[in-house]
Subunit: 94 residues, 2 copies
DNA sequence: ACGATAGGAAAGCCACTGCTTGCATGTCAA
DNA sequence: TTGACATGCAAGCAGTGGCTTTCCTATCGT
């Protein structure tokens, strides 16, 4: 399984995760339209390659139906980050 | 301020954070010794450059005293990750 | 069947990143 | 003061990453 941290290193990939959190189960072309609407200039191929990385990291689950490719978010791999470094919960956030 | 995600993308930098979580406030040369003891082959310059990235991301705070450079861990920038994507707490972790 | 739509595969390019190398600076001990 | 120690700075190099480009496959509507 791939590297979760490297998967999160790219801003476009993070935007994909954001978009999927907002609405999971989108098709690839749908995702492309949504992202270009939010100012991202990535082509379909670029998004597709990003999805491959995210899928390798387990952050995304791909489900094929007919000629569509539906993408679901899976945030569970993030837990390994959350458990690795403790964050002081009571801190000066003024 | 730098990119927290990019800072976490490198395995050596993550090892530095691990080392600092285990013992914060180490000097640079101390950190180098510890890391080489754990199988990392990085030179001092490499570690120093990694620390610059971590410092840019706010994950590390540098404090100079005499000829020593003490490094403290600061995990608070990680909170923005924890708050960005919700992780299902009740999940099949069998 | 045919065209349009949704997506896949691979090669090439460019920029960035991590690392090394070499030298310079500054601090402490004797 | 002098040498040893701890670190800074910058140029150069090799590997990687993200993107484009081109072409190909497969599915649906009519």
């Amino acid at each position: 399984m791939g590297d979760v941290f490297k998967a999160l290193a790219d801003p476009t990939r993070r935007a994909i995760l954001d978009e999927l959190q907002d609405r999971s189960g989108q098709a690839l072309f749908e995702l492309c339209v949504r992202l270009t609407g939010k100012g991202f200039t990535s082509t379909r191929q670029a998004i597709s390659q990003h999805l491959a990385v995210l899928s390798e990291a387990g952050l995304v689950v791909v489900r094929r139906e007919g000629r569509y490719m539906f993408i679901d978010l899976d945030t569970s791999p993030l837990r390994q980050i959350y458990e690795r470094w403790r964050v002081d919960t009571c801190e000066s956030d003024t």
